[in-house]
């Protein structure tokens, strides 16, 4: 029976989220949370409304120092902007295959690598882009005086993922060794990024008794946990959520049907067995994928298709955005709506900036931001950590362990 009494949900904790929309705008939504009843509101808006710059995919480099947001636009342009103040760091014009126009082969997925591939210590970042026709490119670029003149890697790694069909979803797993691609007419593939080889392809489940052949149509994917690249969850256009295990078999290990519209967004929870799914008619639900059981739906007047979900790495909140132009923040455990912000356009992506800290005094809030703009030196690290209210040293340490310089192993 549905809940008849109102569950007391905690008030919205302070968070900072960035959303992108079809007019190419990046909006920053914050809530301080200190004052009781502080509603989430848009604090900044970066970019000019221009539909040719509509954002297709976004990826955040969520780190303490200099967090960056990579934004892939419909025109084939990739912009890397700073999360703190919206400065454009890099602007890569065309990442498509030479000879094709960006309109014919739009970008589908973008991922900014946390670890540097090259030995250079200057500010550079590496990105993986995937287009609809399956052209994947890993490229690194370094910062130069003006964003438009970013020095590009002369020989980026690129290969084709699929022969026919359209790629609709791509993910890179946490350790950035493996990547996952799937789409319409394209079975889910897992590729090894160092060697650029396909290590695994899925097989469709056995045909039903009517022997009808429906082509594979994956609309969203995610890796299930941070440490294990072998398990991942894929959502199909036929409203099915499937769990695949590379080490077990090529057919899906567990399959779950949810309502009637395509599963447009999937995101995993930190505990490794819960996933949150959003579908084309705005229903958001949490599913225990080990058992294939629906844990519950998030009810909150969401009337448009959910395009993107994001789970906060620390707080128990989840953000959903979609075609009804609202950004909604939900509490994971009680499944209640914490806040909703109207953002006027169809939204395409949402990401959390988890290193947002609220300060007691109003004046000290911009201080961490100023410190970040100073070029990184060791003194600044200490200065920043002392100014942060919550000690995130533990978090920062685990990340610094991962930042080992990797050997250049692009060539086979």
């Amino acid at each position: 029976m549905p809940r008849t009494t109102k569950v007391e949900s905690p008030s919205c904790p302070p968070f900072r989220a960035l959303t992108t929309d079809v007019l190419g705008l990046v909006k920053v939504i914050e809530t301080r949370g200190e004052q009781s009843g502080a509603a989430a509101k848009v604090v900044e808006r970066w970019g000019d409304p221009d539909s040719s710059k509509s954002v297709v995919s976004a990826s955040i480099l969520d780190r303490e120092k200099d967090p960056l947001l990579g934004v892939a636009r419909k025109s084939g342009l990739i912009d890397v902007i700073s999360v703190i103040n919206g400065d454009l760091r890099h602007s890569i014009p065309n990442v498509c295959q030479d000879g094709t126009r960006p309109e014919d082969d739009p970008i589908v997925g973008l991922h900014l690598f946390k670890k540097q591939r090259s030995e250079s210590s200057t500010r550079s970042c590496t990105s993986l882009t995937c287009t609809t026709k399956g052209y994947v490119r890993i490229e690194s670029f370094e910062e130069s005086k003006s964003p438009a003149d970013s020095i590009r890697d002369p020989s980026p790694t690129s290969w084709n993922v699929c022969g026919s069909g359209n790629i609709l979803c791509s993910n890179v797993e946490e350790n950035e060794n493996y990547a996952l691609f799937g789409g319409k007419g394209v079975e889910v593939n897992v590729w090894d990024l160092q060697k650029c080889t396909k290590i695994w392809t899925a097989k469709s489940p056995p045909r039903n008794s009517l022997d009808i052949f429906t082509p594979m149509w994956f609309t969203s994917t995610t890796f299930l946990s941070k440490d294990d690249h072998r398990k991942f969850v894929a959502g199909t256009s036929c409203h099915q959520v499937r769990l695949y295990d590379i080490s077990a078999q090529r057919r899906p290990v567990m399959s779950f049907d949810f309502r009637e519209t395509p599963i447009k967004a999937v995101v995993e929870d930190l505990d490794g067995h819960t996933v949150y799914i959003g579908n084309g008619s705005g229903d958001l639900a949490s599913v225990d994928i080990r058992a294939g059981k629906l844990l519950g739906c998030f009810i909150g007047k969401c009337s448009g298709s959910i395009r993107s979900l994001a789970r906060h790495p620390e707080l128990p909140i989840i953000a959903s955005c979609g075609l009804d132009s609202y950004l909604r923040i939900w509490d994971i455990h009680s499944r209640q709506l914490l806040s909703a912000v109207f953002l006027k356009q169809h939204l395409t992506n949402v990401v959390f900036d988890s290193h947002f800290r609220t300060q007691d005094a109003a004046g000290s809030a911009p201080e961490p931001l100023d410190v970040n703009e100073v070029p990184c030196q060791d003194e600044d690290d200490e200065a920043m950590t002392t100014k942060r209210k919550k000690t995130s040293k533990g978090h920062g340490d685990s990340r610094s362990k991962k930042k080992k310089s990797r050997k250049t192993s692009k060539e086979d």
């Binding site: 079809v22 519209t261 395509p262 008619s281 705005g282 009337s303 448009g304 075609l323 009804d324």
Partner: protein, 404 residues
Amino acid sequence: MATEQPKPATEDPKIDLFEDNDEFEEFILDDGFLADCLTLNIEREFSMNLDLDSITDEFYAVIILGSATEDSRQEKMKHNDTLLPSTVKNKERRSAILVKLKHQKKVEKRKNAKVREADEKRALELGEELPLKKIPRTIENTREIDDTICKPDDEELFAGNDADEFSSILKQDFTPKILITTSRFNSTRGPAFITDLLSVIPNAHYYKRGTYDLKKIVEYAKNKDFTSLIVVHTNRREPDALLIIGLPDGPTAHFKLSRLVLRKDLKNHGNPTSHEPELVLTNFSTRLGHRVGRMIQSLFPQVPNFRGRRVVTFHNQRDFIFFRHHRYIFETKESKQAESKGKNSKDGKEAKSKEKVIARLQECGPRFTMKLISLQHGTFDTKGGEYEWVHKPEMDTSRRRFFL
């Protein structure tokens, strides 16, 4: 202190009643079961957090006086002057009370209205300013505040408008060309409705449905350069739903049709001409309403012929869109008010005839009401498509919440 006070107050009536009314005493003291029930009732009310004083008073009152409910009702009556009809259990008496109450209210209302009118007349005659008219409270007045209402200075709105699917038609790059078809089974009133629609919307063509899939029809229409596709869906021999699909990749709006009155059923209807009509779209205030309004606007030509004196109205009220089609004509009317009062003219007012220009309307064409059920992004694809807006019952949280 608080506990001591009620006791002396209730000591006295207790003693009095025992002395005066033997019957009450018998009634209570013998019937321990009733006393237990009454204590249980009091305990239950106590657990509902009533304040202590009233409970202790009522407790003693109940046990001693012996008729709990009537007394509490009498106490209530002491507090309120009117008797709440819902507390009377007897249906006949209750309905009698209600009739009286209604009559009272009606009489009061008429009295107030008369007083108001008299005030206004007096103010008019004396040349004073009219007393302020009170604004009635309506559901539209008390509509819930919506974040999605379009503001007039929103540059994102304008940019969004430029970017949406209808902008090319609305900027007159293309002329609208509409394809009308039906669901597979057409009904009694369906064909008549379609002929009426063909006369309302200029440049509309009707094709029989046959057995084509709707997705295939969308493809064929795109090949033939249509800008919109309208599907009239019938259910139980009545046109029931309207699907408006923008082409090439426009949104799909699914409306529910109701209260359809065909032209031949209208009294004194007019016959529409073929001039381009004027379009009147009122009250589409939210972003969603704006989008739906633009979609409807893209069905009609953007250059109306004002000399044709033909107007098509889509009026949105409470999420229902009312469609009307009129022909109008301007006439000059002489208001003869001064002449009729000629003999009673006061203050030496000249008898002058004022000429007013009024527009007279004649309804032609069908009349119907639409309600948006869902707006889908992209052309018709119920299974693989994603919805921009779909009505869900959980969204009806209040009677004052509207989406268009």
